[in-house]
């Protein structure tokens, strides 16, 4: 990797982001050396046995990167802290800012029964599938805060990459712990956390690079929705420093302050997506029913979790209470590349053996846990879909390239059409000659068939040629336009971006919140009671779910939508009953109709 120049370093400083945390956050971006000094180096063998290679307090960067031979399938990892007991953890919680963190009204009421059941199952499963021990978050927070009390600083790790005409400045943030689950009712806890913010500059040959895009990492999401154009009026900036709203505990990065509801898809849910999309197409196109947003996930098979990125806590960055200390993931004048970047291939936090890996420490910034390269690293422009968008200084080149491609295609298609026309003329002449010869009628029939096929193919080719020619003019105009292309709507690339709750969604009553807190237990207990009573329990269960659904719809002001869904479901059942009952007459009627249609059509032809 090429070393950074002074100009690169100046750019890194110029655009370094402002991180706005949520009140209650316990961990802030730190340097890895302090973390390493506090951690133990361990190895976990495939059978689950763990060996401490370097005990806590004795580890240094040099010892971390020493060459080691471990059994195949083993994982090297750092183990930051020994977990607290329950009493210590509780004491910490009541004395920390977590004590004054308020999840806000509607936290439970915002998601439905399926999600709440999923949440409960997910929680129950974490007990058996391996998890970061309770009390680990509190111990890590105490350790981290002691380090900060000794020498308070906040740091990022910068990296500058030139790719596809962009200059991407990556700002990596390392946190000692992710306490999303234990502190903020989230999905997981794990030791160590790496997150990323990227500023993309237009790296043209003329003039200094200028910012054009931003992309923030958020869980394992990828694609266009994670980036925003620099001139997007919704973006928050302090001068040239983008403001990043960091979610409490999880440290996912967001463009706007607020409470979010990211969905974690269940394993294999994506396999059902094509079936779901096909059903949606039939519903909308064939049946003319109201169009919805095209499905990008099977909603019922994803568990939504509330996440808080309020920006009402500490802020780090330019003109804020706390300033950054810049570190680099590349060599800089006078400093080599950090040795751990390439040489440490393990995980930065405890490996619990969780088959879903949600509770294991990450291997970022460069690698996945299995040792393969991370796309953030080798594809810094493409992970957020930017490799489909030419940088402004190459927009005209891209257009000219496309124009040249189309012109080339038009020339080829034109020559092809010309050859076909000539061949058809020749065939036409042959047919004219053959028609005068009765003994060559068989040949004439074959030539006539060839001609028909040729006419069809020629018509299609001419249509294609005309379409290509039609595309040339607007492209030529765009290339010749003196000011270049208009950038258009800065949000045009967004399909389903993560956005905070709207005030209307948060406007849920305390009654709704109370209902949500007890409803899952009520449904479960009700099911048990009904099954024990053994008296028409199916009808009872149905009635219970019916009442539950109605109350939910009432709280969410969706009664009309619920009525529509229920009646439509009844109509579908009725349609199935009719189809089943009248399958034979329906088939007969269909065949009869077809027969009549064919007869009428043939009679019309005869009359002509």
């Amino acid at each position: 990797m090429s070393p950074l120049t002074d100009a690169d370093l100046a750019l890194v400083r110029r655009f370094e982001p402002v991180l706005a945390f949520t009140h209650g956050e316990q961990f802030y971006p730190m340097d890895v050396e302090r973390y390493i000094a506090a951690a133990a180096l361990c190895v976990r063998r495939p059978d689950g046995a763990v060996t401490v290679l370097v005990p806590r307090g004795e580890l240094t960067v040099e010892r971390l990167i020493e060459p080691r031979t471990v059994a195949p399938g083993s994982i090297l990892y750092l183990h930051f802290v020994k977990p607290f007991g329950a009493a210590q953890a509780l004491a910490f919680r009541s004395s920390s800012s977590l004590h004054t963190f308020r999840p806000g009204r509607g936290r439970l009421a915002r998601v439905g029964l399926i999600s709440r059941l999923g949440d409960m199952l997910f929680f129950a499963a974490s007990v058996v599938r391996g998890r970061t021990p309770g009390g680990a978050a509190a111990a890590a927070a105490v350790r981290y805060q002691a380090e900060q009390a000794h020498d308070e600083h906040y740091c990022y790790y910068a990296r500058v990459v030139r790719q596809h005409g962009y200059l991407a400045i990556q700002y990596w943030f390392f946190y000692a712990f992710n306490d999303w689950r234990s502190s903020f009712d989230g999905v997981n806890d794990h030791e160590a956390d790496w997150e990323l913010v990227t500023v993309y500059l237009d790296d043209g040959p003329e003039g200094p690079p200028r910012p054009v895009w931003l992309a923030y990492s958020s869980h394992e999401f990828r694609g266009d929705d994670l980036r925003r154009r620099w001139d997007d009026p919704d973006l928050r900036r302090v001068g040239e420093h983008p403001v990043v709203f960091v979610s409490a505990g999880a440290h996912a990065n967001y463009f706007f302050a607020g409470d979010y509801l990211p969905s974690v898809p269940l394993p294999y849910a994506d396999r059902l997506l094509p079936i779901w999309q096909q059903a949606q197409r039939i519903w909308q196109r064939l049946l003319g029913q109201p169009a919805a947003e095209p499905a990008r996930s099977v909603g019922l098979l994803a568990i939504p979790f509330v996440e808080y990125a309020r920006g009402d806590g500490l802020r780090v960055g330019s003109e804020q209470a706390k300033e950054w200390r810049a570190r680099f993931l590349q060599a800089t004048p006078g400093h080599p590349e950090p040795p751990w970047l390439d040489s440490f291939r393990g995980c930065w936090g405890l490996v619990t053996g969780d088959p879903l890996a949600g509770e294991d420490g990450p291997a970022r910034p460069k690698y996945h846990r299995d040792g393969t390269l991370l796309d953030y690293w080798y594809n810094p422009v493409g992970w957020c879909g930017l490799d489909a968008v030419p940088p402004p200084h190459r927009e005209r080149d891209a257009l000219e390239e496309r124009l040249a491609q189309i012109r080339h295609a038009v020339a080829e298609q034109s020559a092809q059409v010309e050859r076909q026309v000539w061949a058809r003329m020749a065939l036409e002449r042959e047919l004219l000659v053959l028609r005068g010869l009765p003994d060559m009628a068989w040949r004439a029939a074959r030539v006539a068939a060839d001609l028909r096929a040729m006419n069809k193919s020629l018509a299609a080719q001419k249509l294609q040629l005309a379409a290509s020619e039609q595309a040339i003019r607007p492209l030529e105009r765009a290339v010749a336009w003196p000011g270049g292309l208009s950038p258009g709507d800065p949000r045009a690339h967004l399909r389903s971006p993560q956005l905070p709750f709207t005030p209307a969604e948060v406007r849920l009553s305390a009654l709704a919140e109370g209902w949500s807190a007890v409803s899952v237990s009520v449904v479960l207990l009700g099911t048990v009671v009904l099954s024990l009573l053994n008296l028409r329990w199916q009808i009872g269960l149905l009635a219970m779910f019916g009442i539950y659904t109605f109350v939910e719809a009432l709280f969410h002001r969706r009664v009309a939508r619920l009525v529509q869904a229920l009646v439509t479901a009844l109509a579908l059942v009725a349609a199935a009953v009719l189809a089943y009952t009248f399958a034979r007459p329906l088939a007969v009627a269909l065949l009869l109709g077809l027969g009549v249609l064919v007869v009428v059509d043939n009679l019309r032809k005869l009359r002509r």
């Binding site: 029913q289 920006g311 005030p503 229920l566 009725a574």
Partner: protein
């Protein structure tokens, strides 16, 4: 003039739906009338029936049937007229009426006395009620009607932070 505008912007599906509901309502009212006439005739003694067949004088079946047909008739008729005038309340009323009728017809089918006509009419009417052109026409008919119809979620709501 108003009628002309209504007709111009009313999709054919909405017109068909409106007339279908009116016809259904009239039929139900006719059944209600006939049942009522029979019941009254029995009560007044004008119609003599075999008392052995009316083994349970407390049986409220015919009365309930008559009342149900009457209610369904009134609701269908009112919602049919309302739909021809592209009123949102009529859309919701028609949906609820069809829901109740379908539920009763499906229970009847389950109990072994199917009413296929109600099932078929219900399927067709729910299909027409769900059509996007019908819903759009009703939504476009006036702001006072928009609330009753469930609208699709906004694709990109405005951010709420105040930084």
């Amino acid at each position: 003039m108003t009628q002309q505008i209504d007709r111009q912007r009313r999709p054919r599906a909405a017109t068909a739906l409106g007339w279908l509901l009116i016809v259904q309502g009239l039929l139900a009212l006719a059944i209600f009338g006939a049942l009522l006439a029979v019941l009254l005739a029995v009560q007044t003694g004008a119609l003599v029936v075999d008392l052995a067949k009316l083994s349970d004088p407390a049986d409220r079946g015919p009365v309930l049937l008559s009342a149900g047909a009457g209610l369904a008739g009134v609701f269908s008729l009112v919602s049919g007229v309302g739909l021809l005038r592209l009123q949102a309340w009529a859309w919701l009323l028609a949906l609820i009426t069809q829901g109740v009728l379908l539920l009763v017809a499906l229970i009847d089918y389950w109990l072994g006395s199917p009413d296929y006509l109600t099932l078929a009419l219900g399927v067709v009417q729910v299909y027409l009620l769900n059509r996007s052109d019908v819903q759009q026409a009703i939504r476009a008919a006036g702001p006072h009607t928009a609330e009753a119809l469930p609208s699709p979620p906004a694709a990109v709501p405005e951010p709420t932070d105040a930084v």
